[in-house]
Amino acid sequence: MEDEILKEFLAESWENLGRLDSEIVGLEKNPGDKELLASIFRTIHTIKGTCGFIGLTGLGAVAHSAENVLGKMRDGALAASQVTISPVLEAVDEIKFLLHGLEASGKEPARDNSDLIRRLDVIATGIEAALADAPVTAPLATASSVAPPAHSVPATVSVPAAAVAAEPVTAPGPAKSNGPALSANAELTGEHPTADGDGASRSVADLTIRVNVDVVDRLMNMVGELVLTRNQLLQMVRGEDESKYAAPITHLNRVTTDLQEAVMKTRMQPIGNAWSKLPRVVRDLAKTLSKQIDLMMTGAETELDRTVLDAIKDPLTHMVRNSADHGIETPAVRRAAGKPEMGTVRLNAFHEGGHVIICIEDDGAGINVDRVKQKAVQNGLITEADAARMTEKEALSLIFHAGLSTAEQVTSVSGRGVGMDVVRTQIERIGGTVELASRRGSGTTVRIKIPLTLAIVSALVVEGGGLPFAIPQLGIVELVRLGAEDRHRIEKIHDKAVFRLRNRLLPLVGLDDVLGLERKRAETDDVNIVVVQVGDDQFGLIVDEVFDTEEIVVKPVGQLLKSVPLYQGITILGDGRVIMILDVAGVAASFGGIGGQTSERDVAHEGEDDQSGTTSLLLFESQPGTMMAVPLSLVARLEEFPRSAIEQTGDRLVVQYRGNLLPLLPIEGDYRGTEVDPQPVVVFSEGAHSMGLMVSSIQDILEERLVIRMQSRRAGVLGTAIIDARATDLIDTHYYVMQANPEWFTKKPDLKPKRVLVVDDSIFFRQLVTTALENEGYRVRAVDGAKQALRCLDGGDAFDCVVSDIEMPEMSGWEFAKAVRERGWAELPLLALTSLAGANQESKAMRAGFNRFQQKFNVDRFLAAVDDMISESQPGQQEASA
């Protein structure tokens, strides 16, 4: 019998204590708040009162002394200040400790609390006046908007129940219950869902019914099964117009959906439940670190599934802790920076399109990117070279790597090994994403996006390697289908397939390749690309076929597959097939196409290896302080126009230039610069089209080794090059010319589907040449070495023209040309494209067997040469092959 009373006592104590922390911190801010005081007093009072029934003397003694202090405050005999409240908070902690012990062992832990009790008693009785008169320091941390009372224990949910009168309580459920499931099964009590406060609309109808979470979970499980069965039935009658089951199944369908929503609702809890501890956490932190921090919380009533709520509780606490510890500066530093001494951590939650967005924002110092890099280098996460070539955004994402704490001193509060890596892992595990934005000096914002529920998700069913898979809709951005004739638009950059989707390079990977399945798609098939989002990045998953979307019930993967990161679960389709649910983050990580440090590094290193020469680069500022670069050879001219000469036609800027109108564009994205007069302009030309890029200032021209890293995130940026040991974004001139002349880019119809083989060891030029040729309508095959090119030719691939670099490792262009001619392709037009110059180079090329010799970068001349060569050679080539 005592067991049950004990269980009930533990359950209600945890409920009340959950609320208590925010209340006490709130009291510190508003020492005069009688309501708060009364509520706090009552919680302690109740605990103490109940202790007597169960014989918990140690706990009772601590609660008693704390109650005495609170009683004095309530009666106005003692001021609530930091001095008087701190011991009460200590007592609350001790009470929690004792309750934990009690819960775990069933016995009250033996503790000597005489010191704490004496200090409480001193405050309550003897020197209270002296203490109360002591200078009251400004409230350290305050909670501006306290979360709604976290009324239920994590293990139970409260459900509003209509008209449940306070009937004689029926015998509670099974007495034996192990674990933390504290409340008895489906017990009815006359408990109000909210604590004190508004006395309005109190009625019996407000009553809630307390249900063990296990029951709700089972309910959810069964609804899941029902959804599956419904899907099966729907599948059966699909296509049968006249089925006699159609009507009842439609009804079943609707009822199932309603039921699913209703059950889902019972699992919903306000996010405030996960927040209730935070004011206390921040308050304690502020005190320890001598900072002043205001924690503002909005959207605490935003509801989400209990399982999701549980999953984000710890990450949230960690991030708020981080903001308070690492983000907010000390009052002195803030004052010096011209900011208010009181720092603010803002927590905001809201619904957005089936997701819950949680923002944690602080107005602190922001993240010192250099220090992040430095730390990452120290910890061996990256090399110095990596650090140098990283963009700010990439460096910021280092925060999410294991073992990186950027506070100069590892404080006792945050430097405890649980890092942002764990935070990210936990959030991604439930299908959420974390984004981080930071501005030096003005603060950091972390934005978390999580699904409302995990139990039933909408998913796209696809086929790869002959097997069906489900991809959660959450991660899917769009579907792209390429007709077989458009296959050539898939380019290869350094052995990685990419696709230029609306001017961004989208890395591609075959689902069958990632999963190691046999490839079932043929080269002639259309290409289905599922564009998925992982964090900031997107990539394309090539699948054999795309089927329907279905509401699927997520079942956990079995033990054997748990360690395979590619799958997030299993489900049963309407037709009864059991299929795997893909984890897109896992897929991205496994093929290393995006984001992943290693892959980027690999590409960079390999790039270094095969890039021997240097390139002239034009360095300019896109905005004061931000350098960008472009290969000089792609630049037609540098001009300066007085601002008065720049005209606006429609939504475009143009300037009179050499008898024509030159369209002007600003640099896109974060780089948009400020207006300067005269306006420096970098003019690019491609074909007959020119455009001017408005920059902030022209800086320099230098010879640098180009190390291009592929990246797909920003439009108009081709990659990153290391210039003066700094990562500098390289402009994609092609993109801007296209932007300025949209009508021009509409691909020329395949009037001349001539095939060109491009041989160049440099990714950058390979891509440049390929793009230029493709825009002219050629079919291009690009390879990174002469040997591979010979293999292509040997393998029977027919080309109308071959364009080759001269300086290549393994086999030079000279050797390559000789080999081509020796193998009998006497008439195959061979064009040497090189950065080498000089008459003797040219004659050497001719002797080796090249037909033409072109300097790199002059796209116009190059294209004209290719065109020339092909038309000259066509009759001859036909004869030769005959």
Binding site: E12, G49, I54, G71, A165, V169, H192
Partner: protein, 121 residues
């Protein structure tokens, strides 16, 4: 069977009280605060006794008692439950119409004694 209404914001205390009253042969009703208790009284006119906690959210024991005594309903015996912190105010409760008072933690013996004194048993 006689009926007692247990009014306390602590479920644990209500459960303890319920055990005692059941063992004394009572049927029990419960309420978590004064307002709920008023609702229960309104719908159950045959309550013999109320075990009433003092300090509760929404409506405390004293306010409940005052309201109850001012209503034209069958008046049950009210035993006020207190702790040493409220003992100073006990006369206030008695003036307001409480028939008896007990200190927490109460035992079956004490409850029986109080019920006998007030004539419920």
């Amino acid at each position: 069977m006689k009926t007692v209404l247990l009014v306390d914001d602590s479920r644990a205390v209500r459960l303890a009280g319920k055990r005692i009253f059941e063992s004394l042969g009572f049927g029990t009703l419960e309420a978590g605060d004064g307002q709920q208790a008023l609702d229960v009284v309104a719908s159950h006119p045959t309550i013999d006794a109320v075990l009433l906690d003092w300090n509760m959210p929404v409506m405390n024991g004293l306010d409940f008692l005052k309201t109850l005594r001012s209503q034209a309903v069958a008046q049950p015996v009210v035993v006020m439950c207190t702790t040493e912190n409220d003992i100073a105010h006990i006369t206030e409760a008695l003036t307001a119409g409480a028939n008896e008072y007990v200190m927490k933690p109460f035992t079956e013996d004490i409850i029986r004694e109080k019920l006998q004194e007030t004539g419920v048993l």
